[in-house]
């Protein structure tokens, strides 16, 4: 996989992969729901970067992928807004933001 010379596109994709991994790692580590949502956003940024870099190959720039990145950023922002609204409700109901203490799915 890493045998090709690192072009701009490759660097972007490697960065995107690292971002996704950092995001998932911090989701599993974070003890605060607000930080969890921030980690989700890191994953989304990684995905956006990968999508953006997919339009860079070849001689011309593919504007379609950039349009979709914009679209994706908008969707990500609204998802974040909904998530924070849910967090407010969770805090009102449980009095805590630690996901380990909010375990209603299991027993």
């Amino acid at each position: 996989m890493f045998t090709i010379l690192p072009s701009v596109q490759t660097i972007f994709i490697i960065t995107a992969t690292i971002l996704v991994f950092i995001g998932i790692g911090s989701v599993s580590y974070s003890k605060n729901l607000i930080k969890t949502v921030m980690s989700f956003q890191v994953i989304v940024f990684g995905a956006n970067l990968a999508l953006f870099s997919s339009g860079l190959g070849g001689n011309s720039i593919d504007f379609m992928s950039q349009t979709f990145v914009l679209f994706s950023i908008l969707v990500g922002a609204s998802v974040e807004a909904v998530a924070f609204a849910l967090i407010v409700v969770v805090h009102k109901k449980y009095g805590t933001l630690n996901p380990r203490e909010i375990r209603r799915l299991r027993n």
Binding site: M1, F2, V20, F21, I24, V27, P99, R100
Partner: protein, 584 residues
């Protein structure tokens, strides 16, 4: 015109489904019209079906296709040949009669919009399944037929038994469906094409090995066993009686259970090329033939008797395929459709009039429900194979062929003839003769239910004249009857008739006493009533093996977000590592 008819015959009912829903949901008046809308759609479809059958009376075949998934070399194809044209006409006709019947039967029920939309979807999917020219398309509609039947079985969704029965039908047929899916994928990976034509030409041209053919054949047989309710995947069919009776008639006569037999008939040259596959089909058929017959004798539910009878009759079709007479099996499929639809309509008429399904608490209905009585008499005479009614010709065909190619199967067919006669006439004597245990004898059903019954009665009585001499079937039916084989089966039918007459008409009390006193008979009856313990066996497998495994698997799930996402991260790292090593 042929091209249009071949598409419209299944596109029309499928595209009418949303309209039926809209009409029914639009207003209260629409709920009453929804039934007649379904009747009108299926009537138009029937015209197309008959047009196809009339045009393709010879076995000429043609294919018309349009691209669907070009990447996988899959297209929407319809195949018009003798088998598909004949079956589409047959399905249309029976569905039309059953839907007309259900307008009367289901009058005043709740949820009629759902009912008629599902019926249209059910009939349309079955027609599409029959017209399909490749395995992927067939599989798609095969699943749709299964889903529709599960929903319709669970139609009375305020009854827990009905919901359970629908779920059971869905889960049990799933085992067969998975096998068919594997077969489809296997064919795709070997041949890069899933059309019947390419599979059959590969089999006849020996471009695939004998072993591959047999693997595909076994997978197809298991798939057909699920849909066609063959032992041991039959357990859903007796429970499916919880659905409305017109649905039972539709499942048993026109649509669902015929799909499995159709699949094997469609792939018949593949089965013919291997003696092992033919033997396996015969074995499956013979077991179901005897199993269904034996359980039907003990059953006390009018509709369950007919359900076990269907298992038995479908077994006979499998035997017909196994002894290498696909035409005999096709004829059996058609005649079974007619007399089983009639028998179910009579059962529905009795249930509609009395509200009872237990044959022990019925009796003496002969005097007031004359049309139902005549209909049931004709249906079971046809079912038993008494000449010259519709059932006789197909049974005699399969029997005489099996006599030369597989004598053991022939002997077992004779035994099943006795069983068929006994359970058929037992139901007749219990329901229509004897002392009535009801406070007041019910009146005959409304005319809208009697007319389809009358039409089917005449079809079973006289249909053989058209089928045998008018060349309606796409194959020659006029065979020289061997009087010796007819005589032998008549002797066995007479034996069954005598046993039923003595046991359930002239000396009923003696029979009852015997089945209450003699221990071996008591345990035999219990064994048969429980369907030979298949349900208990599956329940034991579920509670002893599957449930503990599922419990221990659910312990892995901690319910903590951190642990779950850490596991996901670990899995992603492993995948990335494998990618880096270029293993995948």
């Amino acid at each position: 015109m042929i091209a249009y008819a071949a598409w419209l015959v299944w596109v029309l009912p499928l595209s009418a489904v949303p309209f039926a829903a809209i009409i029914g949901l639009a207003s209260d008046r629409g709920k009453k019209i929804a039934g007649w809308f379904a009747v009108a759609v299926i009537a138009v479809t029937t015209i197309f079906g008959f047009y196809l059958a009339a045009t393709f009376a010879s076995s000429a075949s043609s294919q018309i296709s349009a691209a669907w998934i070009p990447y996988l070399n899959v297209s929407v194809q319809v195949q018009v040949d003798g088998l598909s044209a004949l079956l589409s006409a047959f399905i249309c006709l029976l569905s039309l009669l059953i839907v007309i019947y259900s307008v009367g039967y289901m009058k005043g029920e709740n949820g009629l919009t759902r009912y008629y939309s599902l019926i249209l979807l059910f009939v349309g999917s079955m027609l599409a399944l029959v017209m399909a020219a490749n395995l992927i398309q067939l599989y798609f509609f095969w699943e749709l037929v299964g889903i529709c039947s599960a929903f319709l079985i669970a139609f009375y969704n305020d009854k827990p038994e009905a919901r359970r029965a629908g779920m059971k039908a869905f889960i049990v047929t799933r085992f067969g469906d998975i096998s068919l899916l594997i077969a489809v994928l296997f064919v795709l990976s070997v041949l890069k094409s899933s059309s019947f034509e390419s599979v059959l030409s590969a089999v006849s041209g020996k471009t695939i090995s004998q072993g591959t053919t047999e693997v595909i054949g076994v997978l197809l047989i298991v798939g057909a066993m699920g849909k066609s309710a063959q032992v041991p995947l039959h357990v859903w069919l007796p429970d499916a009686m919880e659905g409305p009776t017109p649905v039972s008639a539709l499942i048993h006569a026109a649509t669902m259970v015929n799909a499995g037999v159709y699949l094997i008939l469609r792939m018949f040259p593949l089965f013919q090329s291997s003696g092992f596959l033919l033997g396996l089909t015969t074995a499956v058929g013979v077991i179901s033939l005897l199993y269904g017959g034996a359980c039907a004798i003990a059953s006390e539910d009018f509709k369950r008797i007919l359900a076990y009878s269907t298992i038995s009759q479908l077994g006979l079709m499998f035997v017909g395929i196994g002894v290498d007479t696909s035409l005999g099996a096709t004829y059996q499929l058609i005649s079974q459709g007619f007399f089983k639809a009639l028998a179910f309509m009579v059962a529905g008429s009795v249930l509609h009039a009395t509200g009872l399904r237990d044959v022990e608490s019925l009796g003496g209905l002969k005097s007031t429900m004359k049309y139902s009585y005549i209909g049931f008499l004709v249906a079971i005479i046809g079912m038993s194979g008494i000449p010259p009614l519709l059932g006789f010709w197909s049974k005699d065909w399969i029997f005489s062929v099996s006599l030369t190619s597989n004598p053991i199967a022939a002997i077992l067919i004779l035994i099943s003839t006795v069983l068929t006669t006994v359970y058929g006439f037992r139901a007749l004597f219990k329901v229509f003769y004897g002392e009535s245990k009801l406070p007041k004898l019910p009146a005959e059903s409304p005319w809208i239910m009697v007319i389809p019954m009358g039409f089917l009665t005449i079809s079973v009585l006289l249909g053989w004249i058209f089928f045998n001499y008018q060349q309606i079937l796409p194959f020659p039916v006029v065979r020289s009857l061997n009087l010796a084989t007819v005589g032998v089966s008549l002797v066995f039918i007479a034996a069954g008739l005598y046993a039923a007459y003595v046991g359930f008409y002239s000396r009923t009390t003696a029979t009852q006493v015997a089945f209450q006193r003699i221990p071996s008979l008591i345990s035999l009856r219990k064994f048969l009533l429980e369907g030979m313990g298949f349900d208990a066996m599956y329940r034991a497998v579920y509670s002893r093996i599957i449930l503990p495994v599922a419990k221990s698997a659910s312990d892995i799930q901690t319910g903590e977000l951190g642990v779950n996402s850490a596991l996901m991260l670990a899995l992603l790292l492993v995948v990335l590592f494998l990618l880096a090593l270029q293993v995948i």
